[in-house]
């Protein structure tokens, strides 16, 4: 069997698995639904009056699409960061994106305590929450970018991202200190991430943002491969390093920034999925890793979403806890059983 065929078969199987997970997730929820109902929805043979119709349309479809976008977006952005920094511990938030978003949201939600006026006072609308998060990430990314332009050494950027993250945590801590219990809980809930906060209307924004981010990553996948050889070797082969870095930057900002703005910071997926994909497919070729990461990431996120609402009952668990709990043991197992294959 040629490698080509092997890829095609594995790919098809994975996509099937993904569809299966998507269907299960679509059927998870507090309203009773059958598989047949799902078919009828998509074939248009419903009259819109069934009990499940509105729930499906308003809550489930957006949630499932969000899960797929989030899983794919975080995985690809994590992959980009790991390749750029050639560091297995890098993730989508390493340049400070989620710190920036946290800062924005903290000011909006907790600001009343510190500044006397917070957005909470005038009624926290979903729009403002998204804008605060996006503005926060954008500002931090701008700061990092300005410093990055003057830096040749990519490792400096890494350290910088971590330091900025710490600084922002300190500021957020201060805001928390000055806040009331009610607002604190709202902020805390935001940090736990949620796939349910996205409506169909929101998807009009999220889909293009994630789409462009992933497309950009795909376009530079050849350059990413060469980056793995080291910046010098890549340069000697004709890669424009600064341009590639810029493209990576923009892609990760769109992906991780967009996701965090709408769903809050969702951890772990961005770091783990690239590892899983690399180890399982035994490859460092980004032209393969990107599509695999998209599928694997989406699948895992759907799985996490299914688990966050066990049995479709009334209990809803925070998505961040689920992603951590299902992922960490799995990656530990993978790494132990395939020791040498990552960076020597």
């Amino acid at each position: 069997m040629t490698p080509q065929n092997k890829h095609i078969i594995t790919g098809s199987l994975l996509v099937l698995a993904l569809l299966l997970l998507a269907v299960i997730d679509l059927l998870t929820g507090s309203v009773e639904m059958q598989f047949g109902d799902v078919i009828r929805f998509f074939t248009g043979s419903t009259d819109g009056a069934e009990i499940w119709y509105d729930s499906f349309r308003l809550f489930r479809i957006p949630r499932v699409i969000t899960a797929i976008l989030v899983g794919a977006g975080l995985s690809v952005s994590g992959l980009l960061m790991q390749s750029l920094f050639r560091n297995p511990l890098a993730g989508p938030y390493i340049l400070g994106i989620s710190s920036g978003a946290s800062l924005g949201v903290a000011i909006a939600v907790l600001g009343a305590g510190a500044f006397g006026v917070g957005i909470m006072q005038s009624g926290m609308s979903e729009l403002w929450l998204v804008i605060s998060a996006a503005a926060g990430s954008f500002l931090i990314m701008l700061l990092v970018a300005v410093i990055a332009i003057r830096q040749q050494d990519i490792m400096t950027l890494l350290v910088l991202g971590v330091l900025i993250g710490s600084a922002v945590s300190a500021i957020v801590g201060l805001l928390q200190y000055m806040s009331q219990a009610g607002e604190l809980k709202l902020y805390l809930l935001w940090t736990m991430g949620s796939l349910r906060s996205v409506s169909l209307q929101d998807l009009n924004y999220l889909i293009p943002v994630i789409g462009i981010g992933i497309l950009l990553a795909w376009l530079i996948s050849g350059n990413l491969n060469l980056l793995l050889l080291g910046e010098d070797a890549a340069r000697s082969l004709g890669v424009r390093i600064q341009l590639t870095r810029f493209a990576i930057f923009v892609s990760v900002s769109l992906l991780a920034g967009g996701i965090t703005a709408f769903c809050g910071p969702i951890g772990f997926i961005g770091i783990a999925v690239p590892h899983i994909v690399r180890t399982v497919f035994k490859s460092s070729d980004h032209r393969l890793l990107i599509p695999w990461s998209i599928i694997a990431g989406a699948g895992i996120m759907l799985g996490a979403d299914i688990l966050s609402n066990p049995g479709g009952g009334n209990i809803i668990l925070p998505i961040n806890s689920i992603t951590a709990l299902i992922g960490i043991p799995f990656v530990i197992w993978l790494i132990i059983s395939k020791r040498k294959s990552f960076f020597q």
């Binding site: 793995l228 050889l229 010098d232 070797a233 000697s236 004709g238 460092s284 294959s341 020597q344």
Partner: protein
């Protein structure tokens, strides 16, 4: 088909260095260089003299502070990154690579300068890659991952990649650093072949003087921020080779083609013999600190008697006692045991 160029590499009045927060450090200046087809050039110099800097500037990876560099009839600053990559390939000193990259992939990356955005590699990429792997004798390792092959094999892959890049000029930065003796000579043989048969211009830096003296067409010796460019033999004859070391305690022996410590505190002895065993006995005695005179008489004498089956060494001490040794080691033991202290 190999295109003809008037000069492969030409540098005029080059100046290169580093600029750090207002401070400028000049590594090389007023440099005039030329390198042509079918030349294997050895770049030698002390640690920190600027070998890597020079290679990187020639590569176009570092900017020149002054001067003009022309690669294959085109000034370097007119070249796009991909154009540069089609003229000149670079093999860096060993580096950490992801262990799960396959040999085939790495060599194939050498074709990147010929690829367009979405069409990944050009049509004859497969043949070129195949050929490169064949030349570097890594074809049988094509599907293996990096962490499964040895250092020498890995080095050969890197060079295969440079070959797949199909450039007239190849630069190598200490390519033999981690290779054992056998691999080093293999490497030089291949590079020689590339220069001779494919008319490539190869510039490599190395600390292995022996090999450089034997295999290079030209040596570039970095000295006092400039380069002395000569044939290796000329460099030895004109004693320029000694610029590599502190002249005070080392000199280059033209007979033995190596550096040796000056002053032999054990004193002198007279050595008689012929041929290779005589040569090697001389080396051993010099190593333990004797000054070898072939024409003086008296004092300590050592005679090498070579027969078909074995060799024996006869040692005649000043007090007229005679000892015999059947190996160099024994010879040394005897000499040392007679308490010839170093003065």
């Amino acid at each position: 088909m190999i295109e003809k160029y008037s000069t492969y590499l030409k540098g005029q009045n080059l100046k290169m260095g580093y600029q750090h927060s207002g401070k400028t450090q000049i590594i090389l200046e007023n440099l005039n260089l030329q390198a042509n087809a079918s030349e294997l050039i050895g770049l030698i110099g002390r640690n920190g003299s600027g070998k890597s800097t020079l290679l990187r500037c020639l590569m176009g990876m570092r900017p020149l502070m002054q001067g003009e560099l022309i690669l294959l009839d085109q000034p370097i600053h007119y070249c796009t990154p991909k154009q540069k990559a089609r003229k000149i390939a670079y093999v860096e000193a060993s580096v950490n690579l992801p262990g799960n990259l396959r040999v085939y992939e790495i060599v194939a990356y050498g074709r990147y300068p010929y690829s367009a955005l979405l069409r990944k590699y050009d049509t004859d990429a497969k043949t070129k890659v195949h050929h490169a792997m064949e030349q570097m004798k890594v074809l049988h390792l094509a599907d293996r991952q990096l962490h499964q092959i040895s250092d020498g094999e890995r080095q050969r892959c890197m060079i295969a990649r440079a070959l797949a890049q199909d450039t007239p000029i190849i630069l190598l930065d200490e390519p033999a650093a981690h290779l054992d003796i056998a691999n080093r000579y293999e490497l030089m043989k291949m590079l020689r072949k590339l220069a001779d048969e494919q008319e490539k211009c190869i510039i490599m830096s190395s600390h292995d003087l022996d090999i450089m003296l034997n295999y290079s067409d030209k040596l570039w010796l970095i000295h006092q921020k400039n380069i002395i460019s000569q044939a290796p033999e000329d460099m030895v004859i004109q004693k320029n080779i000694e610029l590599l070391v502190n002249a005070s305690d080392l000199n280059f022996s033209m007979e033995d083609a190596k550096f040796q410590m000056m002053g032999n505190p054990r004193g002198w002895l007279s050595l008689k013999g012929e041929g290779l065993v005589f040569q090697w006995t001389k080396r051993a005695l010099q190593r333990i600190g004797f000054d070898i005179e072939c024409n003086k008489i008296g004092g300590l004498n050592v005679i090498v008697n070579e027969c078909d089956e074995s060799t024996e060494w006869e040692i005649e001490f000043p007090d007229k006692t005679v000892h015999k040794a059947f190996s160099i080691e024994q010879l040394i033991d005897i000499l040392k045991s007679k308490h010839y202290e170093r003065t």
